[in-house]
């Protein structure tokens, strides 16, 4: 009874308007408490009141695909089929953004192609934030224009398959629509004019780009240089040369190289020593690389242990062993630890 479409309602796209929502979702909505309590006997006017109370949009969520109140109201609108003027009023109103989105959604489902573009495109200029409920029940942030973009470009939104609308350029070539004028178009034109007039400003920009490019190239050269050095020589000698290099090159680059090499050195030493210091450095490689290393005797002590022949083995081991306790002999546990490290969890305690 409450679920039958208004007999005076027209059929949309050749079918009962409620069929726009697929069967399973429809049943879920009919069984939903919000639908049964709030949506009984709603008219166009009372529907507005309910819509003003909305505070999030979304499709279905949870393990048993519970529909959101937004969905229920969409369904209600399909059932009672408000007049086009009313829907347009929904869309035009500025005060209640969820009412706007509700109207836009309904129009997208039921309106003609031209109407869809004509009334939804102005909403691209609305940047207000919206709360969207995801399938797992959590909320995420989105914006009105993002939702409109989804409605106009995707086939599926809020767990409802959106009916096909013709492409915009089709309608433009038919002459039903004018080419789209973006609200940002004037800003673009201004930018272009500025660019034509301001030549020096451009040159400055180019110069800045060039500087970065050269610096990048030097960086690469340094990196290669350091890598060669480390491969061939002893730690001690490396350290000396780094000091020498420090005098020669700029300070910034050194700090970067230092950290990078420290990171490399650090991980190498750690992969050798099974001592307690491994536990201190949980949480993935990235933290090590960015942190300033200390000149602790322990670290230098580790450096002492390494010899040349071991270095090659180290490099191999570094590839197989991770730094986070994932070098467990049992492959299952090692894999589990790898996953845990990826998630940011501590390794398994065996």
């Amino acid at each position: 009874m409450a679920n039958r479409t208004d007999p005076a309602a027209k059929s949309i796209r050749g079918t009962n308007p409620q069929n726009l929502v697929e069967k399973i979702l429809r049943s879920k909505i009919y069984q939903n408490t919000y639908w049964k309590e709030q949506c009984f006997g709603l008219t166009a006017e009372t529907l507005v009141d309910k819509a003003m109370e909305l505070d999030h949009l979304g499709g279905t969520y949870g393990g048993n695909r519970k529909p959101t109140p937004f969905m229920c109201l969409v369904m209600k609108m399909l059932q009672i089929q408000p007049e086009k003027e009313i829907v347009i009023e929904f869309i035009k109103n500025e005060d209640y953004k969820y009412v706007r989105v509700l109207g836009a959604f309904y129009l997208r489902l039921t309106g003609t192609d031209v109407d869809v573009y004509r009334y939804l495109e102005p909403l691209y200029n609305d940047y207000r934030k919206l709360r969207r409920k995801l399938a797992d029940g959590q909320f995420t942030l989105t914006h009105v224009d993002e939702v409109i973009d989804e409605l106009l470009t995707k086939d599926y939104s809020c767990d409802i398959a959106l009916p096909r609308v013709k492409r915009r350029w089709n309608l433009e070539s038919l002459g039903s629509l004018e080419p789209r004028r973006s609200a940002l178009e004037e800003d673009f034109e201004e930018e272009e004019e500025k660019e034509d007039n301001d030549q020096p400003a451009d040159e400055l920009e180019d110069r800045a780009y060039e500087k970065d490019y050269y610096r990048g190239r030097d960086r690469d050269r340094d990196r290669d240089r350091d890598r060669d050095r480390e491969r061939d020589r002893d730690r001690y000698r490396l350290r000396e040369e780094k000091d020498y290099g420090r005098e020669r090159e700029g300070r910034e680059r050194d700090r970067r190289d230092r950290d990078r090499d420290r990171g490399r050195r650090r991980s190498r030493s750690r992969s050798r020593s099974r001592s307690k210091d491994r536990k201190d450095y949980d949480g993935g490689d990235y933290r090590k690389r960015h942190a300033r290393s200390s000149a602790s005797p322990r670290r230098h002590g580790d450096g002492h242990e390494d010899d040349e022949p071991k270095k090659k083995k180290e490099k191999k081991e570094k590839k197989e062993k991770k730094d986070d306790g994932t070098d467990h002999p049992d492959p299952e546990i090692a894999e589990a630890n790898k996953l845990r490290a990826a998630l940011g969890l501590k390794p398994l305690k065996v």
Partner: protein
């Protein structure tokens, strides 16, 4: 280290190795890595550890949907 068994009554059974002081949130992440996120019954709070929920090794089954 304990091994927890999760069952989604449609025939998917997942065994997950974890520490007993991992939180439910961590466990959910580990399960999600294997099977995808779902809703769990009973509904567990994310910040409570398995130890507090008294979920022991190999014990019973946690259900998810």
């Amino acid at each position: 280290m304990i091994e927890v068994v999760l069952n989604d009554r449609l025939g998917k059974k997942v065994r997950v190795k974890c520490n007993d002081d991992d939180t439910m949130g961590d466990l959910k992440k580990l399960v999600a890595a294997q099977t995808g996120t779902r809703e769990w019954y009973p509904i567990y709070k994310d910040h409570i550890t398995l130890k507090d929920y008294e979920i022991h090794d190999g014990m019973g089954q946690l259900y998810y949907n």
